[in-house]
Each structure stands twice: as structure tokens, then as C-alpha cells.
């Protein structure tokens, strides 16, 4: 199951994804090493969210292959999901259950132990412990996003997927998120995130990948230095082609 590609957090080869007649990913090739923070950039419709959904195993590719930490995602779904944590656009929480009930439920699905301690620790980390017994429906979008982050971190994943994680968060929460990302990097874990706050992302990332028309347009391993070039590649796409992928 685990091949020589173990050093790579993600290896995507010739990945194609179409939605009807719309081509979103057009033979995308990508290699991301473990232990790095990678930011995926691109205008709306570039394929960032689709790529993250494929890595989260919520969307299947039409052709091509993807392995994560050496495991082919088509064959080792539960294994890959066990080392992956995801925060996508929607918080994906049960509105009529409290924060605690949501986290306890997902802890059961992830077969976690010492759940009370785990929830206390993780909710303190993302700053939601005063709202533990509040129902999700009564929380603001920002708080819901933090609960989603807590759920994604609960099983200490080796690979964290974040789709525009800062949306809906106040500046203090964004700072807290940066701290979590830093902590993950220092522990040798991998973070892959998308964002539209480009300047900030380039400061915290080890690697920037600009997607353009469903392929990799540019890769930089020194994003804070290559800022001008990355921003030029990021904005080069014709705005009239924008979609919502």
C-alpha cells in the first residue's frame, strides 16, 4: 500500500474532472511534499475547490490517479480519510445538536478515545469552549467555522485540507488559525489550503501553486520572495471565464 512515494503528501497524475461539458481539471499533475504548507491560488473556476474536494474524497476524478502519503485514494479510501482532516466551504454540522454533541458524534465515527479530554483541548485551541453546549444553529458563521476546524483537527490528521478557512473569521480567529498552521508545520504535518487573501497566504506558505484553467500554471517554493510573479500569474486569467469550481 505505501510505496516509495511516501515522502509525498500528494501525488496527482493526469487528473481530469468535468462537470457535464465544463472541464474543471484538465490533466493536472501535482506533487506536494510532506511537512509543508501549500497554498493553492487561482481565480474563481480555476479548480482549487474541486481539487480539494477530490483530495477529501468527496468528488471522484474522471481519469488520472491520486495518491496521498503513498496510498492510492481510489483503493484505500478509509485509510486516506483517517489521516486527512478537512474544512471545506460549508461547516457541515448538525444545527440542532450542540457543539459538544457534534464533536462527540464525529469522535465516534473516527473511533477516538479519551473524547472528553480531546474535546476540551481542541475547543480551547480554536477558542470555542464557552460555546460547547450551544446548539450549532444559534452560533454565528465564524463560530461554526471554528467548530468545523475543531472537528478536522480532532483526530490529529497528518494532512489538513482547508478551503478558504479564513472566510467568516475575525482577525483574532485568523491569527489563531495561523498559529495552528504553524504548529502543524513544525510537527512535520502537511497543510494544503486555498484562499483569496493572497498576500497573507504567501507570508505563511512554504509553497504556492497557481492553478490556471484546470492545470498547474506556476509553482513557487519561495512564495514570500516570488510574490510579484505569483500575483501576476494569479491575476492573468481572463475574468470573463470565471465560474464557481
Amino acid at each position: 500500500m505505501v510505496s516509495q512515494a511516501t515522502q509525498l503528501a500528494v501525488k496527482a497524475e493526469a487528473v481530469v474532472k468535468n462537470f457535464g461539458e465544463t472541464a474543471v481539471l484538465r490533466g493536472l499533475n501535482l506533487e506536494l511534499p510532506t511537512g509543508e504548507v501549500t497554498v493553492l491560488l487561482g481565480t474563481n473556476g480555476a479548480g482549487k475547490s474541486t481539487l480539494l474536494r477530490i483530495l477529501a474524497m468527496l468528488t471522484q476524478v474522471d481519469s488520472g490517479s491520486i495518491s496521498m502519503r503513498g496510498a492510492d485514494i481510489a483503493q484505500h479510501g478509509p485509510t486516506v480519510r483517517s489521516f486527512t482532516g478537512s474544512v471545506l466551504h460549508s461547516p457541515m454540522l448538525y444545527g440542532d445538536m450542540s457543539v459538544r454533541e457534534n464533536l462527540m458524534f464525529f469522535a465516534e465515527l473516527y473511533r477516538l478515545e479519551n473524547v472528553d479530554y480531546l474535546i476540551a483541548t481542541i475547543t480551547a485551541k480554536v477558542g470555542i469552549e464557552p460555546r460547547l453546549d450551544h446548539r450549532i444553529r444559534t452560533l454565528s458563521h465564524g463560530f461554526q467555522k471554528r467548530v468545523a476546524l475543531a472537528r478536522a483537527l480532532m483526530h490529529a490528521p497528518q494532512l489538513l485540507l482547508l478551503d478558504e478557512p479564513e472566510s467568516g473569521l475575525d482577525s483574532r480567529s485568523v491569527a489563531r488559525l495561523d498559529q495552528i498552521i504553524d504548529e502543524y508545520r513544525s510537527q512535520g504535518r502537511t497543510v494544503i489550503m486555498t484562499t483569496h487573501i493572497v498576500e497573507h497566504a504567501l507570508e505563511i506558505a512554504d509553497r504556492a501553486v497557481v492553478l490556471n484553467n484546470g492545470t498547474v500554471g506556476l509553482t513557487s517554493t519561495n512564495p514570500s520572495q516570488d510574490k510579484a510573479e505569483i500575483i501576476a500569474a494569479y491575476t492573468s486569467r481572463d475574468e470573463s471565464e470565471e465560474g464557481s469550481y
Binding site: T59, L93, M97, E108, L109
Partner: protein
């Protein structure tokens, strides 16, 4: 053991949400009771007629009402995108199916606990027997197995309220026949052996559709 605890966690979560919202059980029980009441006005319910048409009315009412509940149970999961949260968990998709089917089984079973005593009173039939318990269990398992699969298939379709009954009712017809026939044998006071072939049909239906549905479910979840 691990798989059973996952299935139970999903079923228990659905039950907790239902206790708080009362969306599904109220809809299923309310619809089925309405069907029973309408038929008591439409038919001259002497003892012979009650035995003749009662089982058919009961199971048709539960089947049609069940569709309403099944639709709602899955729609809630999609509206909050929580189905995707289940899909992110490191569990096989068939456990998600079995957990959702367990939840639906509990909703329909609870609705029947309300509906069947009312049926017994309105139709003046003795139904509190072990035979009835067996019929209810087997039929509810089959309804939940098929209904959960088709609810998942139709939930993203715009006309899901129409789509689910069109898919569900033809497929559960053999099970419905088994339920009606065995209930008929029971209300006429016949023995287990008289209804054995119908109960066997229900068992075969349940086993076949739980296995087939769990397999198909994995393939319909992803885009």
C-alpha cells in the same frame, strides 16, 4: 464490534435529531392515521369487511406515509451538507448506509407504534400478537433498506418528492404483498404455518435488499 458501534452512532444521532425536531415521525404517523380514518368513513366496516380490507389499508397507509418520512430524513442530511461530513470520516460507505437505514427503521417503527393501536380500534381487529410483531419487523426492515437507498438517489433531484415514490413503491410491492397477506392470515386467526411462505418472502426480500442497497449506496454518494 467497531462497525456496529458506528452504525449505532449514526442511527442514534438521527434519533436524537428526530426527538428535537419531530419532523419524520409526526409526518409518517399523521399521514398513515389520515389514511386509516378516511377508509373508515369510505367503507362499511362490519367485521367481515374489516378483516377483508383492513390489512391492505394498514400497509398501503404505512407505505405511502413512509415515503414522506424517508424523503425528509435524507433531505435534512443534504440541506446541512452533513452527508459530506459523514463521507469525510474514515469509515466505509456501507456503514453510513446501514446507520441511515437504522435511523429510518426507528422512525417508521415508532410511527407504527402509534398507528397500529389506532388501526386495531378503528377496524376492531385483534393485532397485538407475536405474528404481528414479526410482520411489522420484517416489513419495516425492508422499507428502510429500500427507502434509504432510493432516498439517497433522489435527494439531489429537483423533483425528489415525486421521484422517491416512483422508485420506492414498485420495488417494495412484493414486500407489501407479503405484509398484507400475512396480516390477513393473522386477523383470520390462522396459524404460523399458513403465513410461513409470506414471511419467508419478506425475509428473502430483506436480506437481498440490505446487501444490494449497501453495495449500490457506495457508488451513488460521490459526484
Amino acid at each position: 464490534m467497531g462497525s456496529l458501534s458506528i452504525i449505532w452512532a449514526i442511527g442514534r444521532k438521527d434519533l436524537l435529531l428526530e426527538i428535537r425536531n419531530k419532523d419524520v415521525v409526526v409526518a409518517v404517523a399523521g399521514f398513515a392515521l389520515l389514511v386509516l380514518v378516511i377508509f373508515t368513513f369510505a367503507i362499511d366496516l362490519n367485521q367481515d369487511n374489516a378483516k377483508l380490507v383492513g390489512p391492505g389499508v394498514l400497509w398501503a397507509g404505512i407505505a405511502f406515509a413512509g415515503v414522506t418520512g424517508l424523503n425528509r430524513a435524507f433531505a435534512l442530511e443534504v440541506e446541512g451538507d452533513t452527508l459530506e461530513a459523514l463521507m469525510l470520516a474514515p469509515i466505509s460507505r456501507d456503514l453510513i448506509y446501514l446507520g441511515k437505514a437504522l435511523g429510518n427503521f426507528l422512525f417508521i417503527a415508532i410511527a407504527q407504534i402509534i398507528v397500529i393501536p389506532v388501526f386495531a380500534v378503528l377496524f376492531n381487529l385483534v393485532v397485538f400478537r407475536w405474528e404481528m410483531l414479526a410482520i411489522v419487523l420484517l416489513t419495516t426492515i425492508g422499507f428502510s433498506a429500500v427507502g434509504t437507498l432510493f432516498a439517497a438517489m433522489s435527494v439531489r433531484v429537483r423533483a425528489r418528492e415525486v421521484m422517491l415514490p416512483l422508485l420506492f413503491l414498485p420495488v417494495v410491492t412484493p414486500l407489501l404483498m407479503a405484509a398484507v397477506e400475512s396480516t390477513s392470515h393473522m386477523v383470520y386467526g390462522r396459524s404460523w404455518s399458513d403465513m410461513a411462505q409470506w414471511l419467508q418472502l419478506a425475509v428473502a426480500f430483506d436480506v437481498a435488499f440490505v446487501v444490494i442497497s449497501a453495495f449500490i449506496f457506495q457508488h451513488i454518494l460521490e459526484d
